[in-house]
């Protein structure tokens, strides 16, 4: 086996060695005889398209799903039980950042931080004051100021991610001290700004340096190539191969993941500011946003970006009245809306559509079918002589599923049964079918695989070319560079920079963000010192 | 009470004595050949609730009596759901019964439509053991056969007067949602006023049947603490006693405050035997069953019908409680004159 990467303890047994792993949901074989080996001190990438089975594999290691019989698990050279008994993962020194963070929104930060201890060990006489102090201290070491008594649901998405990450690192650190430890990060980066990601990588490296193994799931090839030593690629639940990361280039990875060559989508960047204005925002103020004004032109795709707390991500939800703005006007088509008073239905009536980032919380209902979710905005078009025509609705859902490459394309499935990326395709389809004047998206490709992204981008571009103006709030410089005609860079709730034309590149955007202000992200003193 | 009060203890004692010995049977009407005239008749009975042992007991012994006489009798088991009563009525109408007996508390006009339909179908509707003799007959029924609740009130009033020599402070608990309650408790109050000659005071608390468990105890406690001079409690239906007793225990009034009540429910007679309850007026369930059947047969056979049910009332106190059996039963302690009495009356002997 390859020695091409740094190995802490030469000759040590692998941290994790799992073989013949299969998992079936109903009649769908989601994992098919997959194997994965992680060595001490190794950062191991886990790649694959949406629905390829990454999270399922991880959830099996967490003991959430039971694998099909015949799977073998060896950790630190000793055979371990599968299916993983409750609390077994923790006993084996495995710490997780799950794809959906595994936090309980209605409970406090400190409770969530201690969730796994409390879950697995019997403690009495818990002194919550001391727990909270400890939590504060911990956050302080990461240069974070998160109130341990705040409830998760009151924190912004970023800080929630930070809580989950800190929790995992604390847990794995203890284990590593005992010469064991496996850290599993299932798509931790989408919530983080570029700088945050860099700090995360520092942490990951230091943990690996202490001899722990790390499994790192991401859809961002550059991240994978930057941080991982080796990478295992899943394709439709089957093992597509394990490679040494630095031996494979960007396109090589994409080919491995998708199984064929993919030409990265790249929109031309004409200056559309001459076009008639589709929507104009004036003096918008609200939580984390100060006196913002800009215009979007017909067929133009405008990116909104910035670091944590820059307020860029707030703009769409303020414009759509998902959050209440303090002041500001918003003119779309003919109508002018007073942002301090409008309701979502007014925005909708004015031809605005909004796809929030919180996929199953705010964008779609997991317990309802794809048909139900997709058809909600367009029910009026399906009124037959006898009210709603279900056959037609189902047909619409199926055809949209086809167009947007939803896998599996079964409109009767509950939305919750789809993997994150596929759910996102469905929800984008839900809104694009309404052919809005202005479409606003918040982190549209969060957790969407590289193949699916191209589909989404093409769809967005298609809509734009039909004249739809599009606002994309995202911290993903790469995707902004791929699709945007203009990018507005935010800091402290204000627009501090505007990139357009050839200036819209991944590096320029990143640069603009970084120099826009100093950031407050993951930054442990250990590394600083 | 006021000093000038001159309670009429003799009168009170007389009432008490009259109901303290085992009743003797006086024929409530002319003898007739029941077997012959009932041969082709069918009688249907809807009790207010088959889950009330007292009521279910009446139904059962009515069944036995009908068996004995030899005519078809069917009861409609239910759980006090008016919709179930409706079903019962319609069942009787659809299955060719000659009489429907609404037993022990169903107000005929609270099933107006069905009663009307029954009459229209030539079926006689009887309301038995539901109201007081002073209550006007319910027009919805062919005949109402009430029982003397006012008399019960007099007995209790008299008892308390005798026991306290006309110096009682009585807490009366009733349920206005039961039709008989108002005349009954008014008679208790009136009797106290009359016999004590102003020496007795009384307060009334209304607790609907559905709320006995949640309200009786708290309200009795409140009353006892608010007015420590209360020395008698009259739960007008004896099943209330079980919620009164804990109130006595918890307020430490056990022994000081006496309970006098009515119905002759076995567990209360047991409590009488154990001295927890001072007295309980009982009515023989077999006697009720027979007088009910008797009255209804007379009506079905076209004879002239009695005004009310012939139900003697018997006082159970510490002395005669065990005559009701240990543990007490519904039908013991009243003697058995009615059994042979009615057999003769119906020409079965």
């Amino acid at each position: 086996m390859s020695e091409a990467f740094r190995r802490r303890h030469r000759g040590d047994a692998p941290v994790l060695d799992v073989r013949h792993l299969s998992k079936r949901f109903g009649n769908q074989l989601v994992l098919d005889d997959v194997g994965l080996e992680v060595l001490p001190g190794e950062v191991h990438g886990l790649l694959g398209q949406n629905g390829s089975g990454k999270s399922t594999l991880i959830k099996i290691l967490a003991g959430f799903h039971d694998p099909e019989p015949g799977a073998e698990l060896v950790m630190y050279g000793e055979a371990a039980r599968l299916p993983m008994p409750a609390g077994g993962a923790r006993a084996l020194g495995i710490a997780f950042v799950h794809q959906h963070l595994a936090l309980i929104p209605s409970l406090t930060v400190v409770e969530n931080l201690r969730l796994n201890d409390l879950a697995t060990q019997n403690r009495v006489a818990i002194n919550w004051r001391r727990e909270a102090e400890k939590a504060r201290a911990t956050f302080a070491r990461f240069d974070l100021a998160i109130d341990p008594r705040a409830r998760i649901q009151d924190l912004p998405q970023v800080e929630r991610a930070l809580v989950a990450i800190v929790r995992a690192f604390e847990e794995v650190k203890d284990a590593t001290a005992g010469g064991r430890g496996l850290l599993i990060l299932d798509e931790p980066t989408p919530f983080l700004p570029k700088a945050g990601v860099e700090q995360l990588f520092l942490l990951v490296k230091s943990i690996a340096a202490d001899g722990a193994g790390v499994i790192f799931v991401s859809h961002d090839i550059d991240e994978i190539r930057e941080i991982t030593d080796r990478a295992t690629i899943l394709r439709d639940g089957k093992l597509a191969g394990t490679v040494v990361s630095k031996d494979v280039d960007h396109d090589g990875f994409i080919e491995l993941i998708v199984g064929r060559k993919v030409s990265l989508f790249q929109s031309a960047k004409p200056d559309l500011t001459a076009r008639p204005v589709a929507a104009r925002v004036a003096s918008l103020s609200g939580p984390m946003v100060e006196d913002v004004g800009f215009a979007v032109h017909e067929g133009e795709i405008v990116g909104l970006t910035g670091l944590i707390g820059s307020g860029a991500d707030r703009v769409p939800s303020l414009l759509y009245a998902a959050q209440r703005a303090r002041a500001g006007t918003f003119s779309v088509g003919g109508t002018t809306l007073d942002l301090a008073t409008i309701l979502p239905e007014h925005a909708m009536a004015a031809g605005i559509a909004f796809l929030p980032a919180d996929r199953l919380g705010a964008a779609g209902v997991g317990s309802l079918s794809i048909t139900d979710n997709i058809s909600l905005p367009v029910l009026s078009d399906f009124m037959g002589a006898f009210g709603l025509s279900w056959p037609r609705l189902t047909e619409r859902a199926r055809s949209l599923g086809r167009d947007y490459e939803v896998r599996p394309n079964r409109p009767e499935l509950n939305l919750s049964a789809l993997s994150g990326g596929n759910a996102q395709k469905v929800l984008l389809a839900k809104w694009l079918q309404t052919e809005p004047t202005l479409l606003m998206l918040d982190e549209p490709t969060q957790g969407v695989d590289v193949g699916a992204r191209q589909t989404l981008f093409a769809a967005l571009n298609g809509a734009a070319s039909k004249g739809t103006a599009i606002l994309v709030a995202s911290t993903d410089a790469e995707q902004l560079a791929q699709i945007c005609h203009r990018v507005l860079v935010f800091a402290g709730g204000r627009i501090v920079d505007i990139l357009s034309g050839d200036a819209v590149t991944k590096d320029r955007i990143t640069e603009a963000c970084l120099k826009s202000t100093t950031l407050t992200a993951l930054h442990p003193r250990e590394e600083a010192a | 009470g006021p000093a000038h009060a001159a309670p009429d203890l003799e009168a009170a004692q007389a009432i008490v004595d009259e109901h303290s010995q085992i009743p003797t049977f006086e024929p409530p009407g002319e003898p007739f050949d029941a077997k012959a005239c009932m041969a082709d008749k069918k009688l249907f009975s809807v009790p207010t609730s088959s889950s009330i042992p007292f009521v279910d007991g009446i139904e059962t012994s009515m069944e036995e009596v009908a068996e004995e006489i030899g005519f078809e009798f069917q009861q409609w088991k239910n759980q006090a759901q008016p919709t179930q009563w409706v079903q019962g009525m319609e069942f009787a109408i659809n299955n060719g019964f000659d009489g429907i007996d609404l037993m022990a508390g169903i107000i005929p006009s609270s099933l107006g439509p069905q009663a009307a339909a029954a009459k229209a179908a030539g079926i006689q509707v009887f309301a038995t053991h539901w109201a007081d003799t002073t209550t006007p007959d319910d027009p919805a029924a062919t005949h109402s056969f009430p029982i003397p609740y006012t008399r019960v009130g007099e007995i209790i009033g008299a008892w308390i007067t005798v026991k306290t020599e006309g110096k009682a402070n009585v807490l009366i608990i009733g349920s206005d949602d039961v039709p008989a309650t108002t005349p009954y408790r008014k008679s208790v109050q009136a009797t106290l006023d009359k016999l004590c000659d102003g020496g007795c005071s009384h307060t009334y608390v209304n607790v609907p049947v559905a709320e006995w468990a949640t309200k009786i105890q708290t309200n009795v406690q409140g009353a006892l603490i608010a007015d420590p001079t209360i020395n008698y409690i009259v739960p007008i239906y004896d099943s209330m006693s079980q919620f009164v007793l804990p109130a006595l225990t918890i307020t430490g009034k056990k022994g000081q405050v006496k309970i006098a009540t009515f119905n002759g429910t076995p567990f209360v007679i047991d409590l009488v035997r154990q001295g927890e309850v001072e007295m309980d007026i009982g009515e023989s369930l077999g006697w009720i069953a027979r007088s009910t059947i008797d009255a209804e047969m007379r009506s079905l056979c076209g004879l002239d019908v009695p005004e009310d049910l012939y139900v003697p009332l018997l006082i159970f106190d510490k002395d005669n409680a065990e005559t009701a059996g240990v543990p007490a039963g519904f039908n013991q302690g009243y003697g058995d004159e009615h059994v042979s009495g009615y057999r003769k009356l119906w020409g079965l002997e």
Binding site: P344, L368, T394 | D177
Partner: protein, 330 residues
Amino acid sequence: MSEATATPGAAPINWKRHAEAYALVFALVVLFCVFGALKPVAFLSWANISTMLGSQSVLVFLTLALIIPLTAGDFDLSIAATLTLGAMMVAVLNAQMGVPLPVAMVCAIGAGAVIGMVNAWFVLYFRIHSLIVTLGTGTFINGIVLWISGSSTISGIDPVLVTYVVVTRVFGIPLVFYYALTLAIVLWYVFGYTSLGRRLLFVGRGREVARLSGIRVDRVRFFCFIASGMISATTGILYVGTIGAADPNSGNTFLLPAFAAAFLGATAINPGRFNAFGSLIAVYFLVIGITGLSMLGIQTYVQNLFYGGALVTAVALSQLVRKREAQDFS
């Protein structure tokens, strides 16, 4: 949530789905046959069937009132009290105060609407859990009923009401059954085939999603409470019409049966969702059992055993058909 419901109009006939959707109907038929065999003459008579249909329509009505807020994700424990109030108001106004029947009925239904508004106001303005609000208002309303009725039964209502509820019959079945049937059809159509029904469902399943899809969540919930209040009050009127009198207690005994029927009904016809015909089937499934037992003159405690046992068993079976996929009403 079953795929079945989620596949409105799915093309290929799906046997699992139909088995699931019609399991309860099947159980109902079986039960009917059993009692039919035991008491052929009385039980199978059209008279008996029409009696069963007619006498329990009140419960059907109340259950239908209940599934409206349930679908929108709110509990309404005040329906039974509202029923009792509606009944008592008609009785007091018409029988005691001589107010003409139509006026009395309008007042009763108006009261139901007010109750709905009060519930909605506490739930939506103060953001209190609907369970606790309606528990409180329910008790409060009971107090009002005891007050206006002097806690006694009131009869002597204008016979016209009775005539149009139980006396008049079509095919031997009292009109009240057809009222219930009509309401069921209306709800079935609204829930299944109008965008209003869809909005209700989304409000119940995902308030935030509904809001961001331009649905006025609070308004929808508001009207659901009002609807259940008004229908409950109407149920009260029909109850008076059925027994010709109003008493202050018996109405409350409908609360748990209505919940039972609503949840049992959610396992039938359109499994996983509260639905009108499911509720209808559920009510009559339970009624057949109770009626059969009383005809056989069996001890009444058996009725409780049957009621509870049948409820749980029926749902358990339908869960087996769904491969025990977790029930999710929210």
